[in-house]
Symmetry: C2
Subunit: 333 residues, 2 copies
């Protein structure tokens, strides 16, 4: 028996990256988007961002959102962090026989509201039904097209550049895990699921040349994104533990389940690498939006630990942040 797919292949960690790099990417050509959240294509000279994501989260309804709002916001944010303005989304449903129509309606209403909030339109769709036991209620694929309104200049990342995050980290991942494990003390914990495109646009309008990298730290969390930034770079990515905005409930759930909030998924946060002189201004713009109210500078680019993400701990230690091999949080999105 040959190799078989395991949950680790969908983790956002090393196994998934290996699958993409060794199996998928060689077949779909050198320009296929893998590291970025969206591909940039040209349509008659017009650059467009194009992205796709399937959502298989369980449970489908959770505090702060549902699979529908998650699907819309996730795709909107993938476009926004590329510097693109989302214009059109698709919505493809894989429904399991027996799924309640009322739940479907609730999810579609949620998608409608999320699309309106992001000023994006769902223009095309598809519906498939699979037998009971061949799905899990509903899976949703949203693909999206964005246009580049501001030409974001991507300058090379350099030591001294700051790492900014737009608020509390780990909320989505921990909220989902708390429900699944029935952790009653974490009842107040809600997913951060939100669209970020308007807020990101205000940042890039003001700092088009100072923003060097943006990403929404979903599967794999902030630590995974920092590893991706560091990979192949002659610099390290330092995260300052005491600067990290982490809720007490998130720490609590993480402690019980053995999950580091740095690796927990976010669905309404953006991580930005920007020049040192712009970082405070970026935080100020982020904080002016409700979804960026708790933004903070959480780290910087360092000559130390080239190619690695690392943590400067509160007690003065240094700890490498490994690229996880397998999944920590299955079906988190």
């Amino acid at each position: 028996m040959g190799t078989r797919i395991t949950s680790g292949h969908g983790s956002g960690g090393k196994m998934m990256r290996d699958l993409i790099e060794t199996i998928i990417r060689p077949r779909f050509g050198p320009d296929t988007q893998t590291a970025d959240d969206a591909a940039i294509i040209e349509a008659r000279g017009l650059p467009l961002a194009f992205t796709t994501d399937s959502y298989t989260i369980t449970p489908i309804f959770f505090p702060g959102g549902d699979i529908g709002s998650l699907a819309v916001n996730g795709t909107v944010n993938d476009l926004a962090v590329m510097g693109a303005a989302p214009i059109s989304l698709s919505c493809a449903l894989i429904l399991e026989e027996g799924f309640a129509m009322d739940d479907l309606i609730r999810i579609l209403d949620s998608m409608k509201a999320a699309a309106a909030a992001a000023s994006v339109r769902i223009v095309t769709g598809d519906t498939k039904v699979v037998p009971h036991g061949k799905g899990d209620g509903v899976y949703i694929n949203t693909s999206g097209i964005g246009i580049f309104e501001t030409k974001v200049q991507r300058r090379p990342i350099a030591p001294g550049d700051r790492v900014v995050v737009s608020g509390f980290i780990g909320d989505h991942g921990m909220a989902i895990m708390a429900i699944r494990h029935n952790l009653s003390f974490a009842k107040g914990l809600v997913s951060d699921c939100a669209n970020l495109n308007h807020m990101i646009r205000r940042v890039t309008d003001r700092f088009p040349e100072q923003v060097k990298f943006m990403r929404d730290p979903t599967r794999g969390g902030v630590a995974t994104v920092c590893n991706e930034i560091a990979e192949g770079m002659p610099w390290g990515v330092k995260i300052i533990e005491q600067n990290l905005p982490i809720r007490e409930e998130v720490k609590g759930v993480g402690g019980i389940l053995g999950i580091d909030p740095l690796y927990a998924a976010n669905e309404g946060k953006v991580l930005i690498v920007a020049s040192p002189e712009s970082a405070e201004g970026i935080v100020e713009i982020l904080r002016a939006s409700p979804e960026g109210r708790d933004a903070a500078i959480i780290g910087e680019i360092t000559p130390e630990f080239p190619g690695r993400a690392w943590l400067a701990t509160t007690v003065g230690g240094r700890r490498l942040l490994p690229l996880l091999t397998e999944e920590q949080l299955p079906r988190i999105c």
Copy 2:
């Protein structure tokens, strides 16, 4: 207990249309594509076609193709029948735990070959893994973007216009059903799964103003497309039984399983409504391509039976072709 999803909601028939018209469309706004195979959007004044389809076919490997080639060709053809040239596709995989890596590789190779044949590139992707029993090996979503190279003038359909189909009908649906039912006599039967964009382009280049409607008759087959054409129109759509190109094996499988080939899925055929003077020329162009070798004029638009598709039978009768309510061929794509 309220209404629940049944297989009929994914059939391509009346139940699916009702779901789309009463539940989905009202939420996603009046411009959401439903009847057409793709939406037309504008990106800075540039018209683009945008489409999405999820593929849940079983079995995933079948004579003439597999879920991978089906996914690429299906999305390519949805763009092509809108008169758009496909430029970029996405590929989102939902893998079930335990799925064989070798099968995944075979499917990706098949997607690569199909994309190359259609001169389209797969530029972005996503990979999710679901637990055993929550999927069925692999589901694939392909979304696609097309640009309009030829401005196809859509003139109103009128009595006398001809209905052209690019070859034998029902091959895909019957090939899949024959495997599922282990009908050994139908072993030579293969799916017609193929990209049509190059051939369609040659037709629209030559007859940009004479082509009035194009559609690939997938789920629900030729009869379902003819019903969609007829709906709300003051004319009928007549199909001439003796002109229908149907293989003997397709008739045989259909006879045993009680499935009319007119309702069986095609995955490499285009149905065209065109002005009477252009129909012969269109057939000639189609026949010049291997995938259109057996093209034929199969019907015409009539004052009789307004709003309905109908069959002029070989023995001189007339029979309405109903819009099927439920699915006839589950998971055919």
